[in-house]
């Protein structure tokens, strides 16, 4: 614990705690939630915090605590899966591009640059219009949106590593391209790509909750944290916890992960 504190610092530790908290909530939330997320528990809507309903009730009189716990499952789960998919696709493609011939490398990079020049939200909106927004499609869309960004970082890393002496030695030894890429280059990319994964996770959370806020992301009866903010907008005028709680959940999740990643980077 002491060495962890020395490694991450107080802010990094706080970030780690917040991150773990939300991971935990998204795993055990549905088990310990006081009510089912769809159940109407009170005929009064936008109730304030009370012992009976810890975070009050939402615009239909459902338990906000239960809904936030359920929403966190969607936000964290989807963002984790999408960031992971984007990292795997981007790293694989970047590595492949870096060790390929010049023509192939150039053309892959050109296409990725073109994709990068489409603003993220616009790209996601176009894909949603074409493919809809069921959960698997949303996962795919957010992953594809962030793949070019991962690709760019992975490729430049791989190109740099590829020029190092030990790679030249391995090449002179007569190793094949696949061996070079997977055994010699890839292991040295993993640490920076993990950091990048953390940042992508935050980006996906932001994109996904924004899409849900627009009503184009996770569709009812399911709801992620962004949908919860959207559906309770009318409670804003009374400052109801129904809108404050999911907002605070998103902010604490993204800031937590950011703090943790930041401390990892500065401790290197």
């Amino acid at each position: 614990m002491k060495s962890l504190y020395r490694y991450l610092g107080i802010t990094g530790l706080a970030g780690l705690a917040l991150t773990l908290f939300w991971v935990l909530v998204s795993f055990v939330g549905p088990l310990i939630a006081p009510y089912s997320p769809g159940e109407i528990v009170n005929y009064d809507v936008f109730l304030p915090m009370s012992w009976e309903h810890l975070l009050g009730t939402d615009y239909l009189g459902r338990s906000v605590l239960s809904r936030v716990m359920d929403g966190a499952r969607f936000t964290v789960g989807l963002a984790f899966a999408a960031a992971l998919l984007a990292s795997l696709l981007g790293t694989g493609l970047g590595l492949f591009s870096a060790v390929s011939g010049k023509a192939l490398d150039e053309s892959i990079s050109r296409v990725m640059d073109a994709l990068l020049s489409i603003p993220n939200k616009i790209f996601a909106l176009v894909m949603i219009a074409a493919l809809g927004s069921s959960i698997p499609i949303l996962l795919l869309i957010t992953a594809i949106t962030y793949t070019p960004g991962v690709f760019r970082i992975a490729r430049s890393l791989a190109v740099n590593i590829n020029q190092m002496d030990y790679i030249q030695v391995a090449r002179a030894r007569g190793e094949g391209r696949i061996y070079l890429a997977s055994v010699e280059v890839l292991p040295n990319m993993i640490h920076p790509m993990l950091t990048d994964f953390g940042l992508r996770f935050v980006y996906v959370v932001l994109l996904l909750s924004s899409l849900s806020f627009l009503g184009l992301g996770v569709q009812p009866p399911n709801a992620d944290l962004g949908s919860l903010v959207r559906e309770n907008m009318s409670g804003l005028w009374e400052g109801a916890p129904a809108i404050m709680a999911p907002a605070a959940a998103i902010i604490s999740l993204t800031i937590g992960v950011n703090l943790f990643i930041d401390s990892l980077r500065s401790s290197r």
């Binding site: 050109r110 296409v111 640059d113 073109a114 994709l115 020049s117 489409i118 603003p119 993220n120 939200k121 616009i122 909106l125 176009v126 894909m127 949603i128 219009a129 074409a130 493919l131 935050v202 932001l206 909750s209 924004s210 806020f213 627009l214 009503g215 184009l216 962004g226 903010v229 907008m233 804003l236 005028w237 400052g239 809108i243 907002a247 998103i250 902010i251 993204t254 800031i255 950011n258 703090l259 930041d262």
Partner: protein
């Protein structure tokens, strides 16, 4: 002088190729749709003859690459078809809204860029002091909060609690100064906050990279003052990277505009685009997406021009 012109032409060429690729991507995605859009428009009751007739009318029975060429041609000629949702020409719908969005984006840029440069330069010239840590912390918080929450919080503070500003942007035709400020204050504030966060962070990084160069060390040894060091020696060399950073951040502006226009009911091109997604109105959607991408590429190109013109090594 020649090298500069050559460089600029080369950049322009790259931008045009990128734009062409982007149009191909947009066309490809919007044509991935497994279902039949004509059947969907006409409903289940339509006879096969009617469906076939509309397909012919919309040119959907031609192969994809011909349709792509036609679409590209119609975009270039300024007549990208008719909206499926309300049968109005897309050009008319868009030309109504475009000036308003440009206005919003323009004001935001005018507010955010100088402020971000100031904050970034301040953080870099006091790097690793309390000022820098304070700025970095605030920036990290701002960047981690999605625009729709910043907007929601801003409405909560300024409309609900203080009652200063309306939560909806009416954007009247000939606004008085007061109406103008009331319309733009909240949207511009929301957009600027995210933008300043992104930009100042990258400005700081670009400037600090220059500060670690040998020529700055030389200037320190020469006895130049700290402000002279930052402003006269490091800053001119960082203009290129900073211009790039600004252009990259403006991509966040493009995304942010989408959220902000919807939240504040601002009648711009982004809210039009969100409607077109909901209605699956593809001609309109394609046109809006291309407008956003073109706008972004123009901004990046302008940043490139700044970077090239400001590079002392290219001056004769």
């Amino acid at each position: 002088m020649n090298t500069i012109v050559n460089l600029l032409l080369k950049r322009l060429g790259i931008s045009l190729v990128t734009l062409l690729l982007v149009s191909a991507v947009v066309f490809l995605i919007t044509n991935l749709l497994p279902g039949d859009p004509v059947q969907e428009m006409l409903g289940q009751a339509a006879t096969p003859e009617v469906v076939e007739a509309l397909r012919t009318k919309l040119g959907l029975n031609q192969p994809a690459y011909i349709r792509y060429m036609n679409w590209l041609g119609s975009l270039l000629s300024g007549d990208p078809g008719v909206s499926l949702a309300n049968n109005m020409p897309v050009a008319e719908l868009v030309s109504d809204r475009l000036p308003r969005s440009l206005m919003l984006a323009g004001i935001t840029t005018l507010v955010a860029v100088p402020f971000a440069l100031f904050v970034g330069i301040l953080a870099a010239s006091y790097s690793d002091t309390r000022v820098d840590h304070f700025i970095s912390t605030i920036v990290m918080f701002v960047v981690a909060v999605p625009e729709f929450l910043i907007a929601t919080i801003a409405v909560l503070i300024f409309s609900v609690h203080l009652g200063w500003l309306s939560a909806v942007s009416y954007a009247p035709q000939d606004p008085t100064l007061q109406e103008f400020i009331a319309t733009y204050a909240l949207p511009v504030m929301t957009l600027s906050l995210v933008l300043v966060g992104q930009m100042s962070r990258m400005t700081r990084a670009a400037l600090i990279e220059q500060m670690q160069q040998p020529y700055v060390e030389m200037a320190i040894l020469k006895g130049a003052s700290h402000s002279r060091l930052v402003l006269r020696h490091a800053l001119p060399n960082a203009v290129g990277p900073i211009a790039n950073a600004v252009a990259l951040s403006l991509s966040y502006l493009m995304g942010g505009v989408v959220i902000v226009e919807v939240i504040f009911n601002y009648p711009g091109i982004a809210s039009l685009m969100v409607d077109s997604v909901t209605n699956r109105d593809f001609p309109l959607l394609q046109a809006c997406a291309m407008l956003f991408c073109t706008g972004y590429l123009i901004l990046v190109f302008m940043a490139d021009i700044c970077a090239i013109l400001s590079n002392p090594k290219l001056r004769n």
